[in-house]
Symmetry: C2
Subunit: 480 residues, 2 copies
Amino acid sequence: MLNAAGPSGRVSRSSFIAEARAICGEAFVQEGAAIEPRFLQPARYAAGQAAALVRPGSRDEAARVIALAAAAGLRVVLQGAHTGLVRAGTPDDAQGEVLLSTERLREVFELDLLDRTLRVSAGFRLSEINERLAPHGLWFPVDLSADPSIGGMVAHNTGGTRMLRYGDVRANTLALEVVLAEPAGQVLRLGQGLQKDNSALALGQLFIGSSGSLGLVSEVTIKLAPLPRQRAVTLVAPAALEHVFPLYADVMQRWGGLVSAFEGISRAALEAGLHGQDVARWFDGQLPDYAMLIELSSELPGDQLDLGGLLQGWLEAEFESGRVRDAVLDADEAIWGLRHRISEGLRAQGKVIGLDLSLPRRHFMAFRERGAAWLAQRFPQLRLADFGHLGDGGMHFNMVWPASAGAWTGEQELTLREGLYALVAELGGSISAEHGVGPQLQAAYRAHWAMVEPGVLAWAMAVQKLWDPHARMGKVDWGG
Amino acid sequence: MLNAAGPSGRVSRSSFIAEARAICGEAFVQEGAAIEPRFLQPARYAAGQAAALVRPGSRDEAARVIALAAAAGLRVVLQGAHTGLVRAGTPDDAQGEVLLSTERLREVFELDLLDRTLRVSAGFRLSEINERLAPHGLWFPVDLSADPSIGGMVAHNTGGTRMLRYGDVRANTLALEVVLAEPAGQVLRLGQGLQKDNSALALGQLFIGSSGSLGLVSEVTIKLAPLPRQRAVTLVAPAALEHVFPLYADVMQRWGGLVSAFEGISRAALEAGLHGQDVARWFDGQLPDYAMLIELSSELPGDQLDLGGLLQGWLEAEFESGRVRDAVLDADEAIWGLRHRISEGLRAQGKVIGLDLSLPRRHFMAFRERGAAWLAQRFPQLRLADFGHLGDGGMHFNMVWPASAGAWTGEQELTLREGLYALVAELGGSISAEHGVGPQLQAAYRAHWAMVEPGVLAWAMAVQKLWDPHARMGKVDWGG
């Protein structure tokens, strides 16, 4: 479906560049070979190519470019901050694809302090949004290691480390403005930014997590949260793996809305995160096979509620009960530092193959065990270093292929993904917990739903054809 | 569009009854005049009529009935517990409509304590779900005065009094099973019930809040929350109306995730709720023009966090500051009792006309003022008694037409709704905050979106035609 390029109309492909420059300005349209590498090199996987890079400076310019590309029979690939991990924002066709970057879409930044909402253009990055909100005691609580654009976050419905308390992007999005693929350039506002509204079909929900396939998300209205006044973090070594989920259930029942993170970290991932740090004192230098990072947070100050004291009291009781072997407390920054350095630490060890999974909690440990056994048999040189958002069932099932093992081939990658994704499907899990779907996952997407619920593919194709009948936008074929 | 009944096929309308009885059993198919009144009389507005009432006892029976109705050229109207307030579950055509009640869809009740999720058939009622969850210390936190079926709650995306903390039904729904209108009777599972999953287009989101128009929601997987271990409630009289939203902003910034309800209640609504109760001691018998019901709740027990003490300390400071005139504390049940008796109290005064609105908070008070002024001019005999979920911008703009004023005519109702809904649109509000859309709101829906964003009507129609091309299901025309 994606190869059925739109019909060419009044604009020749050669005059597309000239017309795009007339719309956006000379400086913001680059032709094929002149495109800056950062727009073509994704965070993971190979670089791409495009007929042109266009960076519109406003919603209206973006709409005109989308209409122009349609008239020229060029497909449009949308790109935010290019931090995605499924290659959904990277073009691949120097003849037929225009890369539309949203980084200059910065017209709107309307903060409503009473509603605690922000209406914001797609191009703003998460870090800048939060810097601007901090003086008001607010933040957008979808917390990520990367620094994506808000438009990209909506297009991929990102989750992050504090989803347990705050929910994903979908749960924090109140309205969208989209520029459609068909009629090319039509602007549609979906929702009025209200907290509570059931006066229409939920069309905007389709665009959240659509990987830029149905239209350009040009502006969003998001919910903001008060900044917590305190956080308390602990890194816990359970006495045995079997205690992890009972401890999780206990923590949730005990503290519910105060639990803002519950991460799981395997020993190999701990080692990667601790790489080069002086933490010999932690766990007396004996790293556990698995650790849990638990964070409580609250808007109340410490004199009204002692979060650190709650954690300490609980840990003491669990030492007694025998379910907890050891724990690190009062080292909040160092603990989060470890967590955020894992990916970097793994990259230092070799080629990283990362699978962004989620599983029902009852099958989470079974997947780890069976996945590791399968790897040991098929790819004994791969080193498993999984970690992730255990609290919401998310698991970054990451593996390192050491340089000493030679090249990691595409064929090996295919075998690996097929084997592990089949296990994911068998155990009722997701092949993309929070990274979304892109070309890198296209085959896996088709195979997964063909196994789990084939009707999803047929209906998703019908919905995609409704919004983009000429396959003019994005890099995903939702029909499989 | 809704009048374009599906093509009649192999089944004659007269043999529909016989075949439906063969599928569901004699006792569960009633013909026109024999239908029990409760299935035809909605909670508000006039009774309806249908060719037949069918109560399938399983998802498969429901699918077969939907296919059978399509073959007979009969439209299907879906009904849960028939507690809706927009008449979306009430049939109106004794020739062409079959009423399908979901109350016997009770096959599945699968509680997953580790995931804190419940997979449940559409027919279970909210009260029964929560009764079964209570022994596990869990609840489904979409808290309503009515007792709807879970399928109906999803179809209308209900909000309720504790949405501020827990979100609406959408935010608490992880997966759906639907039986489609076309191909009639196709069963489609949308989502696997995972907390975190971005591996497909969000098709299931379309069905949430679709008022039973795109297909039958036969089963849902919902998120559960731990039952709070304590709650503290106060009813606050602000010194002046202008302090209401500053006090709201202060409360949210101060306590954030602990705030589980923030309701606003006008004096007339207070009087209705207090009807017949001995609360002369409250506010020294001087009811304020407007009151705020504020509830804090927490999973922590009182010895770890003193919610009542927090409220009391805050109130004392606000007495000092002069923003609060008086407050009732330590009367949690009586305060909620008042809140829940308002509707009943208003009905005792005459005919109630209820508008389920939401507004941006910055325009909330302006709407009250301008709406009241408009009413005073156009309908001086109407008594305004608004109340609602101020914390999320929701407002039940309810009015009473006293019996002494004679009959309330359909023409008056039309004038009233046109006038007030135009003001809602002007101030960026919603004409249906949490009740959804049904025949009762069809004209208002069309007029609202024609003013606010006409493209919504065209695209909603296209989406409806995709899922139900022969207009076989539901009572709403999303094209307007």
